[in-house]
């Protein structure tokens, strides 16, 4: 006997059953792979931080991280100190890089919460750099990155990444031609914090002026660029009070 697959009751039952089964299956897959994925993300974080510090395997135009096998060793070699800053106090914490910035930002909405700010101190070619993690919103989803500053608060390297920006447009924030523009840019105007904005028509397409607090924007990625500027302004600012004390 053919079932009456057109009845409303059957349709609702089928839909509910399907959702239950598919949901359970996906939950099972996600939880059984979770450990491996978290580990991959941890390795990627180390690679990103090293990239901002200038430790990478780039050739002319590519973006290449140090390989997975050596990243752990390289990380402990170049990153000399990891700090957690609360207010103007800094405490050393060897796992500061595992602090979830997104969570901290959310907790910080509660005025009583003292936000923990991770900061990574790295040394390359005898120069000490301070690597600041940043996180913000792009057009579709989250964008984040790492900014390496020297003790004069001049940018020496950046790495940006994104969750799901538009391919070919917003995704260009993780391309060399964009990231390399940040090298040498200042974020302080004398003593005031300015940050760095992406800007169109700044009459400086070759990015020769390093104290204009601007880099050339990506065509077709206005919202991603604005989000990136806002992210740099907001997140770098939190570190400025501490970083300023380094010169004294």
């Amino acid at each position: 006997m053919a079932k009456n697959t057109d009845s409303n009751v059957y349709t609702v039952l089928f839909a509910s059953g399907m959702v239950l089964i598919v949901g359970a299956l996906l939950a099972f897959v996600a939880s059984s792979l979770k450990e491996k994925i978290t580990e991959n993300k941890r390795i990627e974080k180390q690679q990103n931080i090293l990239y901002a510090l200038g430790i990478n395997e780039n050739d002319e135009t590519s973006v290449e991280f140090v390989s997975k096998n050596i990243v752990g060793a390289e990380f402990s070699k170049y990153i000399t100190k990891q700090l957690v800053i609360t207010g103007t106090e800094a405490v050393e914490d060897a796992n500061a890089y595992l602090i979830d910035i997104k969570k901290e930002a959310e907790e910080a909405k509660n005025p009583n919460y003292k936000r923990r700010l991770p900061l990574f101190v790295g040394e390359k070619d005898g120069v000490t750099l301070y690597i600041v993690p940043v996180r913000g919103k792009g057009l579709w989803d989250a964008i984040w990155g790492y900014v390496a500053l020297d003790n004069q608060l001049v940018v020496q390297g950046v790495y940006f990444d994104h969750q799901g920006e538009t391919p070919g447009l917003g995704t260009n924030i993780k391309e060399r031609f964009f990231m390399d523009d940040f090298k040498g840019e200042h974020i302080l105007d004398g003593d005031t914090f300015k940050g760095i904005s992406t800007s169109k028509g700044n009459a400086d397409p070759k990015n020769l002026d390093k104290i204009d607090f601007e880099v050339d924007a990506i065509a077709g990625a206005t919202i991603t660029g604005d989000g990136l500027s806002a992210m740099l302004k907001k997140d770098l600012k939190m570190y400025v009070p501490y970083l300023k004390t380094l010169n004294q």
């Binding site: 079932k3 697959t5 057109d6 059957y10 349709t11 089928f14 839909a15 399907m18 959702v19 598919v22 299956l25 996906l26 897959v29 996600a30 792979l33 491996k36 994925i37 991959n40 390795i43 990627e44 050739d59 002319e60 799901g164 391919p167 070919g168 995704t171």
Partner: protein, 215 residues
């Protein structure tokens, strides 16, 4: 073929050439443009689509008599989406760098017209074994074009194949670069994928006149 009857074998061979989903039906073009700059990304994409399409076809085919026709498109979408999420999670766990490269395109397999097209047109009307073969055939037809396009784009655009510098080192000027050869950066841009696919379509129709539509 001893294993497959003639009719079944056709399910696999047809989409490879004379009824290719990309060059004849012009489906699944967007991902073919996006991820063919590198050979290994397209191979992974082809395998992912093969998994989703073959498995999905089988599941849909097994359920074809119990799926309420009113919500059949939703059911197809849920099954495709579930399989895509599984692929995405597996890639993230075992091929993290590749999954970053493919970025949104793994998720977009859900919207790949070939998948829904085969679910609706074939799996709903055929048994699981034939649906499985149809899924393998169509995704192989999709994959083979991806691989051909990626082969030329990576070779001419970056001078590499699967990341190996087959043409020599462009910075140290070894291999063909010693004679003044330069990589063609155009090949890495999406429009060149379209042009490459166009050339494949041209070659295919030139060889098989029967494929040309007459108005």
């Amino acid at each position: 073929m001893g294993l497959l009857s003639k009719k079944d074998a056709k399910l696999i061979t047809d989409p490879l050439a004379d009824n290719n989903p990309i060059t004849i039906q012009v489906l699944g073009i967007c991902s073919a443009l996006a991820i063919t700059a590198q050979l290994n990304a397209s191979i992974v994409m082809a395998i992912s689509v093969m998994f989703v399409l073959a498995m999905g076809n089988v599941v849909i085919s097994l359920l074809r008599n119990v799926i309420p026709s009113k919500i059949r498109i939703i059911v197809q979408l849920v099954i495709a989406a579930a399989l895509v999420i599984i692929v995405d999670q597996i890639l993230k766990a075992f091929a993290y760098e590749l999954s970053k490269q493919l970025s949104v395109f793994v998720g977009l397999i859900i919207t790949n017209c070939i998948i829904m097209g085969r679910f609706e047109a074939f799996a709903l009307a055929n048994g699981p074994w034939r649906s499985f073969l149809d899924g393998i055939g169509n995704s192989a037809g999709y994959g083979i074009i991806l691989v051909i396009v990626a082969f030329f784009r990576e070779l001419l655009g970056s001078g590499t194949l699967l990341g190996y510098k087959v043409l020599g080192d462009s910075i140290e000027k070894t291999g063909v670069y010693a004679f003044g050869y330069e990589n063609n950066g155009f090949m890495l841009l999406a429009p060149m994928a379209l042009i490459t696919i166009g050339i494949i379509i041209w070659v295919q129709r030139a060889r098989n006149i029967a494929l040309i539509e007459h108005n």
